[in-house]
């Protein structure tokens, strides 16, 4: 267990949640330092959203201690959410209002007065490049625009902590890159970010620290580079289709092989045997690369499909 850091914005120990006796989250310990981007990774149903909901006081926890901004969540739900911005997994913009009205309306739930909102809303729409759509209805927006608007909405109260639940799921690459650059900008502006995702590239780009969970329990924690170093060999050769048996059998014992679908993955800390195998079998479709977070993730959470 790590020592609680003084400037941790979120501090939780032994955080647990049971639904009808079944553990959705069991015994999570983590601190999110102020100004950092913290990633919560895990397959579908791992307990990511449940953890976020407990952090926001939207779901009572079954056990453990949980402090946000140094305050106990049970007694300070309203104050904590007053300083937090949330991008939920599913869009829940208000379809009865226009783009700009959505931000005004949301601001009113934070008791932000009208004159302040009149200044803030146009600049937020500018930030997410939706100024020209200010008077359009929500149902005319594309998926990417809705996500951007939801991000703008989460900033309406100028939060210290930004909670993003799968912010880029279902978006095209252009929209995803735009969201990433906005998140980077938020980080530069000193906001603390808590992000869930199952895109490893996203986690590698954005997060200072990661936690991989499955079945509600911690599997690994650390910076992306640390996790790769700790849980995976440095290099991998990916062979698509049928791999020549003789070549695989001739690999040194330091190599680890894994099969997934119709691909064979050969992991090794030494690139040489991998490169040699590739060169000696030019007819085999193979790819040599450095290991990434995805390799760590699949190693820790297994390759079988999730419901």
């Amino acid at each position: 267990m790590q020592a609680p850091s003084d400037h941790a914005l979120v501090h939780c120990r032994n955080l647990s949640k049971f639904f009808d006796g079944a553990a959705a989250v069991s015994g999570l310990d983590f601190d999110i330092p102020s100004g950092s981007c913290f990633g919560l990774l895990g397959p579908n149903g791992a307990g990511k959203t449940t953890t976020l909901r407990m952090l926001l006081g939207q779901s009572p926890r079954s056990g453990g201690t949980l402090e946000v901004f140094g305050k106990d969540i049970d007694l300070n739900r309203r104050q904590i959410r007053q300083c937090t911005g949330i991008v939920p997994q599913a869009d829940n913009l208000d379809p009865d209002f226009t783009v700009a009205e959505n931000l005004h309306m949301y601001g009113s739930y934070f008791r932000i007065d009208k004159t302040q909102l009149e200044q803030r809303v146009p600049s937020l729409l500018e930030l997410v490049e939706l100024a020209s759509r200010a008077d359009d209805r929500i149902d005319t927006l594309s998926g990417g625009m809705k996500r951007r608007l939801t991000l703008a909405r989460s900033l309406v109260n100028d939060p210290k902590l930004l909670v993003l639940d799968e912010p880029t799921t279902g978006l095209d690459p252009q929209a995803r890159h735009m969201i990433w650059s906005l998140i980077h900008q938020m980080k530069r502006n000193g906001k603390t970010i808590l992000l869930t995702t199952h895109y490893m590239e996203e986690a590698e780009r954005l997060c200072d620290e990661l936690m991989i969970i499955d079945n509600g329990s911690l599997l690994a924690q650390g910076s992306p580079a640390e996790l790769i170093r700790r849980h995976c060999e440095s290099d991998v050769l990916e062979i698509r289709g049928k791999a020549p048996r003789s070549a695989v059998e001739s690999l040194p014992s330091s190599c680890r092989t894994e099969r997934a679908g119709d691909s064979l993955y050969i992991y090794s800390d030494d690139a040489k045997p991998l490169l040699e195998l590739g060169q000696s079998h030019p007819d085999v479709a193979c790819l040599h690369r450095h290991s990434g977070l995805e390799d760590v993730f699949l190693r820790l959470t297994g390759r079988e499909l999730r419901g």
């Binding site: 639904f19 926001l56 939207q58 779901s59 009572p60 739900r77 309203r78 104050q79 959410r81 007053q82 949330i86 939920p88 599913a90 829940n92 913009l93 208000d94 379809p95 009865d96 209002f97 009205e101 309306m105 949301y106 009113s108 739930y109 934070f110 008791r111 109260n157």
Partner: protein
Amino acid sequence: MKIAPLPLLRVESLAVWRRNALVWRRLMGASVLLHFGEPLLYLLGLGYGLGRFVGEMAGMPYFTFLASGFIAWSAMNVASMESMWSVYTRMVPQQTYEAILATPAEVDDIVIGELLWCATKSLISGGAILAVAAILGAVHDWTAIFALPAIFLTGLCFAAPGLIVTAFAKGYEYFNFYMTLVLTPMFILCGVFYPISTLPLPMQSAVQLLPLTHAVQIIRPIVVGQPITNLWLHLVSLLVFGVLATWVASALIRRRLIK
């Protein structure tokens, strides 16, 4: 279920009320037409048509009797509809509450905001019928405007049980049971069409347990300019019913929204 405190009025509840009011304002044209048109049709058709055969009822023209009863019925009906169909829409398909619960607002703020909004719609609808009745000469004098707070209270009283039904609802069709089994019997039995004194004696006592009876007993005398008999009995009945239902509604909506 833990015993929850009775929800209180907060700024966040007013923000929820304001949200609904702004949406309503956008669709006001159709809504006003409905609020004025429907009672006008009913009053003219039933009040004048039936009134010609009935003549007087409880010492007043049947048209006047019916108009004053309709005001109370409409307060019940509008608040019930809003607290079921509209609240369900905001709660389930639109996920409006999910978004609001990510702000400092809590479930109780949503419950109170929605109750106030439902009662406001009762006020709009009941007020419209009152205006139509006044134009058609069924209102005694200007003191009839004192019916407005009673209409609002009636709206609150019926919005809360509506929320209770919504807290259990799995779909819109669920509400038809409540309409048919609870609201329609009250519409027929609680003195909207005829004085409850014409019911068999055991029935007279039974309908005292139904809140619409008390709403009619307060609203009708105010509209037609008669003294209210047993004002406190009716008022306290409505208040007790409303407060209890609000308390239960807030606990059940919380159970539905907070997992």
